[in-house]
């Protein structure tokens, strides 16, 4: 069981979500986030004055998947979220200790 946290470009969300659904991912949590990495911020202009915006909006996807398909999940995200330009984001992988479905109390992979 692994938890995948992917920070991606907002406009790639639909593609990634559809591709993950196709390989059997039935749930995910999505958050609108802001941050910065190597991609420098952008510039906004209000009344002729430019303002540097350092935090760029991104989407954070969180999914927990069985060990069996983790590689497939990673390659799918890599393939779908990639544009090749700076700011495509990152994928973080964690090992959750357990998963519990609140409705039934099931635990482990059965609860995913």
């Amino acid at each position: 069981m692994k938890k995948v946290e992917a920070i991606i470009k907002p406009f790639k969300l639909d593609e990634v979500k559809d591709a993950l659904a196709k390989i059997g991912i039935y749930g995910m949590t999505v958050t609108e986030v802001k941050g910065f990495g190597r991609q420098k911020g952008h510039v906004e202009v209000y009344r002729g004055t430019e303002y540097e915006v350092t935090f760029i909006p991104k989407i954070k996807i969180e999914v927990v998947v069985p060990d069996a398909i983790i590689d497939k999940v990673i390659t799918t995200i890599l393939e779908k979220a990639k544009t090749g330009s700076i700011g495509d984001g990152k994928i973080f992988i964690f090992s959750p200790e357990d998963v519990i479905r609140i409705r039934t109390g099931e635990r482990g992979e059965a609860a995913i």
Binding site: Y46, R47, T49, E50
Partner: protein
């Protein structure tokens, strides 16, 4: 109710528009009363009695609507325009400044503001206290300055001007001024600055006698508030985050639209009658505003490579400001030129001069109202066309002296408003302090001043 107001407004617009066309066709300026009273009882239309002032129902109806329109400019017009431009954490406080000022001025105006502004002139400087608490004003009384409407309507129409003038200055102070300081400032500034200046120009004071042209308040409202904005911004000092980060540009656009709409009451209403002059002011206002929005958009497009929506809205407001003193004096060509310049001069004041000089006029109350107001006042002295209004003859129509008079009126207002605003700020500073502390400024004034939040998400 709102629908009714809008409907009445549209009908009146149509009527005044038609009357204007008619008058333009038959050229010689006829006394307004005869042409206007379309469905009125025969008594008013039969003979325009020369001397005794008589209430005209058409004029009265229009001025009631115009008054409500000008009120709309402050609440919610200016509150939305400024509130949307403020940061997320300061939106509510910014709106509160316009709101509370409207209420404060509403009260002070009926207590003493009207009397000292429009009471019998004393030495050219101030009105007499004869109408304190509106004593002597009744349902049948008529003011000498507006001879066809009830004095009550004149009082409240002028009230809405006083209110928005004070509220305009807040744009330069937001995101750092104590709310208590603003409340005290509102009281003092209306009393010590607005009232005398309005008296000088409109109440029969020395600038009126000098022949300064200010149709709807370029000097009294916009230069006056714009200079107060600049002086206040200098005394307050820079914000910790001196940047424009609009919390909600859609509110700004809504506010700008309401300002534009309300401004028809401000400018066309300044004819104080439903007549051809109101029609001229109406069409000049709309033309100059549309022109200025376009002009600002292209200026910005060339300068920063982006035609911003805030630019369109800012250009429109700059156009409204610049056409204000000229609305009832210039012809359509004058309005177009004023519009073009209003999209360029205030733009550079805001985008180039402000950053160079380094003062922190948060929402460009000086850049747009001060600079736009001066531009309009000066251009009025150039483009005033006597065939639109006999009272005004500008440089282009063979009266170069008018330009000088305009410059004097501008200079007097700049100096007086500048000095007295500075004194008021110093007084407020001594008594309650003008600026919130650094921590409160960073958390935001919504929470620190009011214990509320504009957005709870």
């Amino acid at each position: 109710m709102k629908r009714f107001t809008v409907l009445t407004f549209l009908i009146l617009t149509l009527i005044s528009g038609l009357a204007f066309a008619e008058e333009a066709a038959t050229n010689p300026p006829t006394p307004p009363a005869a042409e206007q009273a379309v469905p009125a009882p025969a008594a008013t239309t039969v003979e325009a009695a020369p001397a005794a002032p008589k209430i005209d129902t058409g004029d009265t109806a229009w001025m009631i609507v115009a008054t409500a329109l000008v009120m709309l400019m402050t609440l919610p017009g200016l509150a939305l325009f400024y509130g949307g431009l403020a940061k997320r954490k300061d939106t509510l406080n910014t709106m509160a400044m316009s709101f509370v000022t409207y209420c404060i001025v509403s009260l002070l105006w009926v207590m003493y503001g009207f009397s000292f502004t429009f009471g019998t002139d004393i030495g050219g400087f101030i009105g007499s206290p004869g109408k304190l608490f509106l004593s002597g004003v009744g349902v049948n009384s008529i003011n000498d300055l507006a001879k066809t409407i009830p004095e009550y309507i004149f009082v409240i129409y002028q009230l809405t001007f006083a209110a928005i003038t004070v509220a305009l200055a807040s744009g330069a102070y937001i995101e750092r001024m104590k709310f208590s300081a603003w409340v005290i400032f509102s009281v003092l500034w209306m009393t010590l600055v607005y009232v005398p200046v309005a008296h000088w120009v409109w109440g029969g004071g020395f600038l009126a006698k000098l022949g300064a042209l200010d149709f709807a308040g370029g000097t009294v409202v916009h230069i006056n508030a714009g200079i107060a904005a600049l002086v206040g911004a200098l005394v307050l000092g820079k914000r910790k985050e001196a940047s424009l980060k609009p919390s909600n540009l859609t509110l700004v656009i809504t506010g700008a639209g309401l300002l534009w709409f309300g401004w028809f009451g401000f400018n066309a209403g300044s004819a104080l009658a439903a007549n051809g002059l109101a029609g001229a002011a109406f069409i000049n206002t709309n033309t100059a505003t549309a022109m200025a929005a376009i002009s600002w958009m292209f200026t910005e497009w060339m300068h920063t490579k982006r035609p911003t929506v805030l630019g369109l809205a800012s250009g429109a407001v700059a156009g409204l400001v610049a056409i204000t003193p000229a609305a009832g004096f210039v012809n359509i060509n004058g309005a177009l030129i004023i519009g073009i310049l209003a999209g360029i001069v205030p733009y550079f004041a805001v985008a180039i001069i402000k950053p160079k000089l380094g003062y922190d006029d948060s929402l460009d109350a000086f850049g747009i109202h001060g600079v736009g107001g001066m531009l309009g006042a000066i251009l009025t002295g150039i483009f005033a066309d006597p065939s639109i209004n006999e009272a005004g003859k500008g440089l282009l129509y063979g009266n170069p002296k008018q330009l000088l008079t305009q410059l004097i009126a501008v200079a007097v207002t700049v100096i007086y408003s500048g000095v007295v605003t500075f004194i008021i700020f110093m007084l407020v500073k001594v008594f309650v302090g003008v600026r919130v502390d650094a921590e409160h400024e960073i958390t935001g004034l919504d929470e620190s001043q009011h214990g509320e939040k504009a957005y709870s998400l």
